[in-house]
Symmetry: C2
Subunit: 288 residues, 2 copies
């Protein structure tokens, strides 16, 4: 749906000191820290199928907003779970769902602070709200990249439909590591695919980009086109000042020896992107 | 669905200093205040019908969690909106919905800090997460009532199906007034009806209650049975120490001359409730 930015014109938005819609999370002042807030959802037939393991759906439902939190350098806090259950779903489904959700919560240090449930006519739907915290000076947004910054992605992209979309590990450690060292000028998580997401980061930062597509890290048996467009990678995309790139790359290898970090291009002053970029120019015309 | 408390055994819950599931809102430390967090939902066919005015549904979607916030003495902050939209719903529906949501947001001082949207196969569903703040010493929970406290309700009960359920005004001013004067030992909002909700407050506080049903304030053309069981009143239910009752009642009249405040009974040391109470004893046996 493309109407989101139009709808936001109809409601009051946050001012002064609060980061509102448009980034991976909202951020509101909370003592010496910023409180990060993210709401995310998964719906049957869109983000998962009925036959898929409910525990894995529960894992995914919590790990998706955790990936957004990672992209802002946050430490996870509390989650609130809302689920809509159709008449043909038994309580056992939700027990399995909660087992998977609980596994993710324990693994990443989240506690469940509340929730709500409702019947609905058809289809399973779940909304998860997640809080997190980040020291004010360590917040990383989508909008901080300057012209000439280098563009990096973590891990490998593409092929998420083979199972990764239900099994991924949000890059919380990596995001915190990058943010606490202030190595990124801008960051976001890759949920819609690099092809759609990189233009969003560039647009938010008011710059363009150049990418060598042959450098984009691909999962096995994945084409470059798929790596750019499959989506649900849940990797981090970020920019780094050239002066810090050497330190970033050498320290990354020591900290995360098993996780790839790949420089794929750079931002540009001219607000343009490669003509063969799969996201297309529309991404610059419409709000993300 | 009765499985909520069972599901909570499968996930990690908050500890030390955080108020988790079971009250109107969760509460987490945020500087000198507590940050209140509430997630609530409305689903087509359960909380509203397709033919009802979408703007009123938007009003309701935000005012329901605002009513929960009122019951903890909170001042509203930000809201995050998640909506699930079936194929047969046009963008115009969501525009109207957002107009009503925006009206409630402006009226009660809420800003929209983010959200998410998804398609789903059938039925409209909306989840709203709301933040608020309350000074630590002014938080009112469900669990603070002591034996012999007097039980009060605001407004009049019953008959919500005639339109009140889409038009109500959350008792934010009244809740803040009660909390800031520390006049309540326990408080909650009436969403499932006094019959179901009062036993929850009593159970959370570890006491019983006695109520003179003839005192329960009723809306015009509503029986006492309906006033106890219709639900969706969105009034406040609270308890007050007898020593403060005189001050409460006289100051209330000056502050809220148009809103009734009715003393309907008292809490008891013995964990029992009137044998003719419509909620039935089951409410004491199962968790709220």
């Amino acid at each position: 749906m493309s109407c989101w930015s139009g709808l936001l014109k109809l409601v009051p938005l946050p001012e002064k000191g609060i980061l509102g819609p448009g980034d991976d999370c909202a951020a509101i002042p909370c003592g010496r820290d910023l409180l990060l807030l993210k709401t995310d959802c998964v719906a049957e037939g869109v983000h998962f199928r009925r036959g898929e393991n409910p525990a894995k759906v529960g894992w995914k439902a919590l790990c998706r907003p955790l990936s957004d939190l990672a992209a802002m350098g946050g430490v996870p806090g509390e989650a609130l779970i809302t689920f809509f259950s159709p008449p043909d779903v038994e309580e056992e489904y939700w027990e399995e769902f909660y087992r998977g959700l609980g596994r993710a919560a324990r693994r990443f240090g989240v506690t469940i602070a509340g929730g709500e449930m409702s019947r609905q006519p058809a289809g399973i739907a779940i909304s998860v709200t997640l809080t997190g915290r980040v020291p004010r000076r360590e917040l990383v947004t989508r909008s901080g990249a300057g012209a000439g910054d280098l563009i990096y992605v973590t891990g490998s992209l593409g092929g998420s439909g083979r199972g990764h979309h239900l099994n991924f590990t949000p890059r919380l450690k990596e995001g915190r590591w990058i943010a606490s060292r202030r190595l990124a000028t801008a960051m976001m998580d890759l949920s819609d695919g690099l092809g759609a997401d990189l233009p969003r980061l560039a647009r938010a930062s008011g710059c363009g980009f150049e990418v060598d597509q042959s450098l984009v890290p691909r999962n096995p048996r994945v084409t470059t086109a798929s790596a750019l467009s499959d989506g649900e990678d849940y990797e981090l995309l970020f920019t780094c000042k050239p002066a810090l790139a050497g330190r970033l790359e050498s320290e990354w290898k020591k900290a995360f020896s098993k996780t790839r970090l790949t420089r794929i291009g750079n931002t540009t002053k001219v607000k343009s992107m490669p003509p063969d970029w799969p996201g297309g120019w529309d991404h610059f015309a419409t709000s993300a």
